[in-house]
């Protein structure tokens, strides 16, 4: 392991970290703007040109606010909750292939922090750790609304992780790999997985909405019933971390959806016009971010369109609809993959 390699990797880590932060920061701005536009309003436009400094102002506000830790709370866990939440949101960015490899002075530099061959498993492991942040935070607050929100969050996330995992199994069957880099590389040109796995994509997207606690699955923090949900007792930057973690999750989910089903950094027909591999890699990053931003927009678009589910509807959808559907998807995928063998079985 050369020092050059270490520098390149740490540079990439810092870059991904900073980009994640900036995107999450401006997602809050975009959310407010999109919400405003969808409701025929203008949205924040006072801080800086077009209100572009609004996220900074919000951040300053969050830091300046009084920090209240309830006397009856479990202090250590109370602090641990948001820390876990934001930590595991950041960790997921490590396996996303942000672009194909860049060639600088004869050596290849992959634009992925860690090309682990079990990338999907890693992703799932880290995402399910995110539940702990919410659960611990809600429990440590010692408040019934927080606890109810936390219980809702954990049961919701656990339920939808099953369907999500099953929908991914069908994808793994067709791609034959668990590495995100390979999945992205396989989708060159028009071979996007959405065309092979439309039902799987639908299930995955619905589960992604549920996993990120976004509307219409935002029951853990529904204001109408639970005051604020699991973060009712939180204030200052601890609350900021929880809210920020949600936006980071949204960013990473969009990146994962783009990588799994929409070709990642690939764009059809582009190889005809651009032949330099480095330029292609840079363009790939641009395309990936364009796709990510589109999905972030979709997340917000859905939030400001659909009303929230009732809790029993949520559980019905998860267990009685999505899980059977994803199982059916696996069976159909398997049948199509083994069609020659099945055909020969009948011919004999």
């Amino acid at each position: 392991m050369t020092s050059e390699y270490l520098i390149y990797k740490s540079l990439l880590v810092v870059l991904v970290f900073v980009i994640t932060l900036v995107v999450a920061m401006y997602s809050t701005y975009a959310e407010r703007k999109i919400a405003a536009f969808l409701q025929d309003r203008i949205g924040p436009n006072r801080a800086g040109p077009f209100g572009l400094l609004q996220p900074l102002a919000d951040g300053v506000k969050m830091f300046m606010k009084e920090e209240v830790i309830p006397g009856t709370s479990n202090k250590a866990l109370f602090i641990l909750g948001p820390a876990i939440s934001i930590l595991f949101s950041f960790l997921t960015g490590a396996v996303i292939p942000w672009g194909s490899a860049v060639n600088i002075m004869g050596s290849e530099y992959s634009l992925q922090i860690a090309d682990v061959n079990i990338g999907i498993l890693y992703l799932f492991g880290v995402v399910s750790m995110g539940v702990y942040g919410i659960m611990i935070g809600g429990w440590a607050s010692n408040n019934k609304y927080s606890l109810l929100g936390a219980i809702r969050a954990s049961s919701q996330m656990i339920s939808y992780e099953v369907a999500m995992g099953l929908s991914i199994i069908a994808l793994v069957m067709t791609t034959g790999t668990l590495s995100l880099n390979e999945i992205a590389a396989q989708q060159q040109g028009w071979h996007w997985n959405i065309l092979i796995q439309p039902l799987g994509f639908l299930i995955f997207v619905i589960c992604a909405f549920a996993e990120t606690n976004r509307a219409p699955f935002d029951l853990p923090e529904c204001e109408t019933e639970l005051v604020g949900g699991y973060h009712t007792e939180y204030s200052s930057m601890k609350l900021g971390f929880y809210l920020f973690a949600e936006y980071i999750n949204m960013f990473i989910s969009s990146a994962v959806i783009a990588t799994f089903y929409f070709g990642g950094y690939n764009m059809p027909l582009i190889a005809r016009f651009v032949h330099d591999s480095n330029a292609l890699a840079i363009l790939g990053v641009v395309f990936l971010f364009a796709k990510i931003f589109f999905f972030i927009f979709c997340f917000m678009w859905v939030r400001w369109t659909l009303p929230r589910f009732r809790y029993d509807q949520l559980m019905n959808l998860g267990w009685k609809t999505l899980i059977p559907l994803s199982l059916l998807n696996i069976v159909i995928t398997g049948a199509v993959m083994m069609r020659h063998e099945i055909f020969q079985l009948f011919v004999k």
């Binding site: 999109i34 969808l38 025929d40």
Partner: protein, 197 residues
């Protein structure tokens, strides 16, 4: 009784498959919100833009001066009696020699205060005034942090002497209005009589 032509009879029928998968409905709903993305925004950016108001809008009052700049108000108190919100108080004083250019008649209001938090901007004071002294204008009452600053005295209410500081009330002080005021059988005059009893 049918109240509207858009009423729908609610039925409890079982949903069709298309309705049960919800996706077409979700899609059409999202198209509706998407169309709003491009619609004209209704927001009025307040301090920079203001909503246009009618020229006979009933806003902040003004106490008029006559042509030479003397105050028209004679502190008769009819506006205070007419006021349903009891927002007006005044203290009358006698005009001294040499003050003819300041006050039009022998009696004037030394103190004239309107509590803008009590005022309901009905315009009854204006209607009651026999001297064409008080008018409501299309100006809005400024906001403030303290209640006591909403008791407007003569320093705010009386218009300036200089021609450019005069408040234009020509839209409210029309010949038709003056004609209307001369009719003693109309309600506004009857109310005053009743109160005077």
């Amino acid at each position: 009784m049918q109240l509207t032509s858009r009423s729908k009879v609610v039925s409890n029928k079982t949903m069709t498959f298309k309705e049960r998968i919800y996706l077409p409905a979700i899609f059409s709903g999202m198209m509706i919100t998407l169309s709003h993305l491009f619609k004209k925004k209704v927001t009025i950016q307040y301090p920079e833009q203001t909503r246009p108001v009618s020229q006979i809008y009933r806003g902040q009052h003004t106490l008029k001066r006559d042509e030479i700049g003397a105050e028209r108000c004679t502190a008769c108190g009819l506006c205070a009696i007419a006021c349903p919100a009891e927002a007006i108080i005044m203290v009358a004083a006698e005009r001294k020699k040499g003050e003819e250019h300041l006050y039009r008649e022998e009696k004037y209001a030394a103190v004239y205060e309107i509590n803008m938090l009590r005022c309901i901007f009905c315009g009854d004071c204006e209607e009651a005034c026999p001297k064409e002294a008080i008018f409501l204008t299309d100006r809005k009452v400024d906001s403030d942090y303290q209640r006591k600053s909403f008791i407007y005295g003569k320093d705010i209410l009386v218009e300036g002497i200089e021609p450019d500081k005069r408040v234009d009330v020509s839209k409210r002080e029309t010949a038709a209005v003056a004609e209307f005021k001369t009719h003693k059988e109309y309600d506004h005059n009857k109310v005053l009589k009743r109160n005077n009893k």
